[in-house]
C-alpha cells in the first residue's frame, strides 16, 4: 500500500479515537467507548486488508479483547489470520507477509497469529493462551464458508475440552491471585490483573459459558455485577487515556487524576481519592465474589460446606447466629442453600431482632478459634454482621489514604481477628511469646468485641479512638453486656493506640514511662488484652508491618509493665556510684583500675544500669585506643533483627548527623540512636539499624567500606552532604506518594531533664541526617532518637538537652524554624 494512503488511514484512526475519547470524558459510557473503538479499528483493518482479499485465500478474525469488542485505548489488537491449504499456501503466505507489514505500518499495537485451517483442527490445550483468546473469536473479513469452518473447528474443540479448559482457567485465576497475595486490597491496584479486576470478570464469564453452573448461588444480583464491571471498565479507560498507554495500575498519582474525571470532585484531593477507592473496593469485592463463586463451582469442595437438609426457614436472628456458630464449630462455611436461606430471612429479621437474647451466642461465637475470621466475613457478606452491629456499616470499604494501611477499615478490622485466631492456632511463623499471653486470657472473647469495633469511629476524619469507644458503647448496651465486660472493651478501644505510641515514641528504659503506662492500664488482665490487641492491630495494617523489631519492643513494654504491676520492681533507688563501685570491684584483671574509674565518671545512670558489664569493659577498651593515630573507634555487631553500631570518639560536633547520614547513604533502615558522654568528654554513640536491602549480607566488602567511610565522616574527611546528593537526586529514591507539610512538636519529659521533640515528615533518604544536622548546629545534645515509618510518613522522636537542661522556649522556636526550613529546602530541591 502506498505510504501516503497508509498515512491517511493512520490519521483517520487517530482522529476517530480522539473523538471517542472526548465523548467518553463527557458521558463516561465505558461500553460505548469500547465497542465503538473496536468498530473504528475494524474499519481501519478492512481498509488496509481489502486490497489483498481479491482471491479470498484467507480470512481475518478478531480475538481476545478485540474479539469481544472490548478495546481499551492502549490495548493490543489481536487478530487471527486463517488461510486455506488447498494448493494456494505459498500464494497465501506471500500475501499475508505484505498484509502484515502494512498493518504494522499503521502503528497499531498489533498481535497476529497465522494458522491454516488444517492446523486449527489440531488445537492443543498447551497453547492455552491462544485457546482462551479463541473463546472471543469474531470474524472481520472472511467468507461465509470460512467463518463456518473456523467456528466448527473451535466449537468442536471447546465442546471436547470444556472441563479441562475450565480447570485451566481456575488454575490460572488462582495463580494470578497469588501474585497479588490473594487479596483485592492493593494500594495501587492493577485494574486488569488484580483480584476483583477485569480478568476476574472475564474468567467468571468464561467459566459460566464453559461449565454450565446454573442454579448456583451468586453472591450478587446480575445487575450489580454488571454495574461493578462497568465501573472498573471506566477506570481502566481513564487510566489508559491519562497515561497515554497500556497502563493498568491505578497508581497513587493516577488516583488523583482519575477521581475528578470519574466525578469524585466534591472535597479535597485526598478525600476525593478516598471516595474513588472506596467505590473501587466495593466493586472489586463484587467482581471477586462473582469470580470466586464460579471458581468454587468448578473446584468446589462440598465437604467444606455445611449442609442442613431439614432446615426450612430461619425465623429469628438467634437461629441465624446459632447457624453460624454451628458452621464455625464444624469448621465449615455455609452451603449455597443455607446462604440463600440467610439472605431470604434478612428482611424479616431486622424487624424482630431482640439483641439481649443474642448475648450468650455472641460470647460463644467470639471466642478466638480457627475459622472465626471466615465465619465473620461470611456473616458480613450476607448482611448479618451489619444487622447485629450497624456501627460496622459506617466503615464499609472505608479508605484512609495514608499510604500505610493496605486494607479498607472494615477488612482491616476483620483481619485483626484473624491474627488472634492464628495466634490461637499456633504453627509456623507464630510468635510463641504472644501465644502464651493469649492462653492466659480467660475472656479472650472481649478481645473480639474490641477488635471488631476498635476502628468504627474512622468513618469520619480526625482522632477516632474516642469516637469508636462511644459508638461501641451503644452497641454493647444493646446486647446488655455486663458492666465489667463493657468497661474492659471500651478501655481497649479507647487506648488501642497507646502501646504503639509508647514503643515508637518513648524511652522504655525511663522508669517514669513504664510507671505512667502501668497507671493507665491498671491491672494485668487489661494489660494482656491490650498487648494482644496491639499485636493484632499492627499486624493487620499491611504484610510486614509487625516486624521482629516492633514485636520485640511490644514484648519489652509488656514485660516491663507486667513487672511494674505485679512486683513494683525497680522502685529502690540505685545511684551511679553504687554501680561504678560494683563494676570496679569485679574489674576484669586486664584493665587498669584508675583509668577505668576516670572513664566511668560522668556517664548517666541509664548507661551504667542498662549496659551489660562486658559491653562497658569493651567500650572502655575502645576509648583507651582513641589516643592512637585515629581518634575514632567503631564496632559493628549483627543481631537477630538488626545491626548494633557503636562509635567511640572524643567530643565532636555533628557526630550524630554524620553517622545518620552515612547509614542513609548505605540505605540502612535506622531504628534508633542514642548517645552518652562522660566527664572526659568521651562520646559513645549507638545506632540500631536494619539492613532491609541486604547491602551487607550480599556484599562482604561493603561492610568494610562502610566502616572506613564512617571513620572518615566522623573525622570530617568525607563530606556526607556530597555523598547523599547522588542518592537524593536519583529518581530511584524519589517518593511515589504525595508529600505533606512536616510538623514539629515539643514536650518535656516527665523527669524534666530533656525536651522531647517529635518531627513528622514525608519519609525520604537522608531525612534523619538533615534533622540531626540542624539540631547539632543549635548545639543541642541528642540523648535518644526513636525512628518509625508509617507508609510515606516518618516519625522521628528526639530526646534533647542543651547545656545539660531542657530546651528554652526561645531555643525551641528557633529549632522548629530551622528544621522546617531544612525540610522545605529538601522538598524544593527534589522538585
Amino acid at each position: 500500500m502506498p505510504p501516503n494512503q497508509l498515512l491517511t488511514i493512520r490519521n483517520n484512526y487517530q482522529r476517530s479515537k480522539q473523538e471517542l475519547s472526548q465523548r467518553f470524558l463527557q458521558d463516561l459510557r465505558a461500553t460505548d467507548f469500547l465497542e465503538e473503538h473496536s468498530d473504528v479499528v475494524d474499519r481501519l483493518i478492512c481498509d488496509v486488508v481489502s486490497p489483498y482479499r481479491e482471491k479470498r485465500t484467507f480470512g481475518l478474525f478478531a480475538i481476545g479483547g478485540y474479539g469481544r469488542r472490548e478495546l481499551y485505548p492502549g490495548s493490543d489488537i489481536d487478530i487471527l489470520l486463517v488461510y486455506r491449504t488447498d494448493g494456494t499456501q505459498s500464494a497465501a503466505e506471500g500475501i499475508l507477509r505484505n498484509l502484515i507489514q502494512d498493518l504494522w505500518d499503521t502503528h497499531l499495537d498489533l498481535g497476529h497469529q497465522v494458522w491454516s485451517l488444517e492446523e486449527l483442527k489440531e488445537l492443543d490445550l498447551n497453547a492455552w493462551e491462544f485457546c482462551l483468546s479463541l473463546l472471543d473469536l469474531r470474524p472481520i473479513l472472511a467468507s461465509d464458508t470460512m467463518v463456518e469452518q473456523v467456528k466448527e473447528e473451535t466449537s468442536a474443540f471447546f465442546r471436547k475440552n470444556s472441563r479441562e479448559l475450565a480447570n485451566r482457567i481456575v488454575e490460572l485465576t488462582l495463580t494470578r491471585h497469588r501474585t497479588f497475595d490473594g487479596t483485592i486490597y492493593q494500594l495501587e491496584p492493577d485494574l486488569k490483573e488484580a483480584p476483583g479486576g477485569l480478568r476476574d470478570y472475564l474468567a467468571a464469564t468464561w467459566l459460566r459459558n464453559l461449565y454450565r453452573a446454573e442454579g448456583r448461588y451468586l453472591p450478587y444480583e446480575e445487575s450489580k455485577i454488571e454495574e461493578a464491571h462497568h465501573f472498573i471498565q471506566q477506570a481502566r479507560i481513564a487510566v489508559h487515556l491519562l497515561s497515554n498507554r497500556k497502563q493498568n495500575r491505578l497508581t497513587h498519582a493516577l488516583q488523583e487524576k482519575v477521581a475528578p474525571l470519574l466525578g469524585y470532585a466534591s472535597g479535597t484531593a485526598s478525600s476525593d481519592v478516598e471516595s474513588l477507592m472506596k467505590e473501587y473496593f466495593l466493586n472489586a469485592r463484587i467482581i471477586n465474589g462473582f469470580c470466586m463463586s464460579l471458581v468454587n463451582a468448578v473446584w468446589g469442595d462440598t465437604d467444606s460446606q455445611l449442609v442442613l437438609e431439614d432446615l426450612r426457614e430461619l425465623s429469628s436472628a438467634e437461629e441465624v447466629v446459632q447457624l453460624f456458630l454451628h458452621a464455625l464449630e464444624e469448621g465449615k462455611s455455609l452451603s449455597d442453600f443455607l446462604r440463600n436461606a440467610v439472605v431470604d430471612s434478612l428482611p424479616s429479621l431486622s424487624a424482630t431482632i431482640k439483641y439481649p437474647a443474642l448475648k450468650e451466642s455472641l460470647i460463644q461465637l467470639f471466642k478466638p478459634r480457627q475459622g472465626l475470621y471466615r465465619t465473620l466475613s461470611e456473616m458480613y457478606e450476607l448482611g448479618i454482621l451489619e444487622l447485629l452491629f450497624p456501627e460496622f456499616a459506617s466503615i464499609k470499604a472505608r479508605v484512609i489514604r495514608d499510604f500505610y494501611h493496605r486494607y479498607t477499615v472494615d477488612e482491616h478490622s476483620l483481619l485483626t481477628i484473624r491474627n488472634i485466631e492464628e495466634l490461637e492456632a499456633g504453627g509456623k511463623g507464630i510468635d510463641g511469646r504472644f501465644q502464651v499471653i493469649l492462653r492466659e486470657c480467660d475472656d479472650a472473647y472481649l478481645l473480639t468485641f474490641a477488635l471488631l469495633l476498635h476502628d468504627v469511629g474512622k468513618s469520619r476524619e480526625g482522632k477516632h479512638s474516642e469516637r469508636s469507644a462511644r459508638m461501641a458503647a451503644r452497641a454493647l448496651k444493646r446486647f446488655r453486656l455486663d458492666k465489667g465486660e463493657t468497661d474492659t472493651i471500651l478501655f481497649l478501644i479507647r487506648n488501642h493506640l497507646a502501646m504503639s505510641s509508647v514503643i515508637q515514641r518513648r524511652d522504655l528504659e525511663e522508669e517514669s514511662v513504664i510507671k505512667r503506662f502501668a497507671d493507665l492500664v491498671g491491672d494485668t488482665k487489661k494489660l494482656r488484652l491490650l498487648t494482644l490487641l496491639t499485636y493484632a492491630d499492627v499486624k493487620a495494617v499491611a504484610p510486614g508491618t509487625l516486624n521482629d523489631w516492633k514485636k520485640d519492643l511490644l514484648w519489652q513494654l509488656y514485660v516491663l509493665t507486667y513487672r511494674k504491676l505485679t512486683l513494683e520492681f525497680g522502685d529502690e533507688s540505685i545511684s551511679e556510684q553504687d554501680i561504678s563501685e560494683k563494676l570496679l570491684s569485679e574489674l576484669d584483671p586486664g584493665l587498669e583500675r584508675d583509668s577505668f574509674e576516670q572513664f566511668l565518671a560522668g556517664f548517666p545512670l541509664r548507661y551504667l544500669q542498662n549496659t551489660p558489664r562486658e559491653e562497658i569493659y569493651e567500650h572502655f577498651r575502645m576509648a583507651s585506643r582513641l589516643k592512637g593515630s585515629r581518634p575514632v573507634q567503631t564496632r559493628l555487631l549483627k543481631r537477630r533483627t538488626h545491626y548494633d553500631l557503636c562509635v567511640v570518639t572524643p567530643d565532636r560536633s555533628r557526630l550524630f548527623a554524620a553517622i545518620a547520614g552515612l547509614l542513609s547513604y548505605f540505605e540502612m533502615n535506622i531504628l534508633r540512636g542514642y548517645g552518652f558522654s562522660n566527664q572526659q568528654g568521651t562520646i559513645l554513640d549507638f545506632f540500631q539499624f536494619a539492613d532491609v536491602r541486604g547491602v551487607f549480607r550480599l556484599n562482604n566488602s561493603e561492610k568494610q567500606r562502610f566502616l572506613n567511610l564512617l571513620e572518615q565522616a566522623v573525622l570530617g574527611e568525607v563530606d556526607v552532604d556530597l555523598l547523599l546528593q547522588g542518592k537524593e537526586k536519583s529518581i530511584v529514591f524519589q517518593r511515589n506518594t504525595p508529600g505533606f507539610e512536616p510538623s514539629v512538636y515539643f514536650e518535656d519529659d516527665p523527669a524534666g531533664r530533656y525536651t522531647i521533640v517529635e518531627i513528622i515528615a514525608p519519609d525520604g533518604i537522608g531525612l534523619l541526617y538533615r534533622i540531626s544536622r540542624e539540631i547539632s548546629r543549635k548545639q543541642c545534645d541528642i540523648k535518644l532518637v526513636l525512628i518509625s515509618t508509617e507508609g510515606g510518613r516518618a516519625v522521628d522522636v528526639f530526646y534533647l538537652s542543651h547545656d545539660g537542661v531542657k530546651l528554652s522556649a526561645e531555643l525551641r522556636t528557633e529549632l522548629r524554624a530551622e528544621i522546617l526550613q531544612a525540610l522545605a529546602q529538601e522538598q524544593a530541591e527534589l522538585i
Partner: protein, 110 residues
C-alpha cells in the same frame, strides 16, 4: 528523544525485556559486551590455575524513547536489574537528535 544504554547482568535481560514491554517499549538492541566497573573482575580457576578475569560478560540494552518516558524507563530497568550485589550494572541516558526507519524512510516524530 533519548537513548537509554543499560549495561546489565546477562541473567536479567529477559526480565528487563518483559518489564519494558509493560511500558509499551518493545524495540531494543541487545549486545553481548565485556567490561568491569567498581567490581574490577574476579579470580577464576581454570585447570587448577588461578586466572584473573578482569572483563566480565555483561549485556548492553539500547532503547530509544520519548523524553517524557525517561524516568519511568530508568526506574523500571533499575528495579528489575537490581540484585543488590556488586556488579548489577549501569544506566546511561544520551540525547538523540534524529531517528529514521530505513525501510519506510520515515523520520521519527517524537
Amino acid at each position: 528523544m533519548k537513548l537509554i544504554m543499560a549495561i546489565v547482568r546477562p541473567s536479567k535481560v529477559e526480565e528487563i525485556k518483559d518489564s519494558l514491554a509493560r511500558l509499551n517499549i518493545s524495540g531494543m538492541t541487545i549486545t553481548e559486551v565485556r567490561g568491569h566497573g567498581r567490581q574490577r573482575g574476579h579470580t577464576a580457576i581454570y585447570r587448577g590455575k588461578e586466572y584473573s578475569v578482569s572483563l566480565l560478560p555483561k549485556m548492553k540494552i539500547e532503547i530509544v524513547i520519548p523524553d517524557d518516558m525517561v524516568d519511568e524507563t530508568i526506574r523500571t530497568i533499575i528495579e528489575t536489574a537490581r540484585t543488590g550485589e556488586i556488579g548489577d550494572g549501569r544506566v546511561f541516558v544520551l540525547p538523540v537528535e534524529q531517528g529514521y526507519n530505513i525501510r519506510t524512510g520515515e523520520r521519527d516524530v517524537l
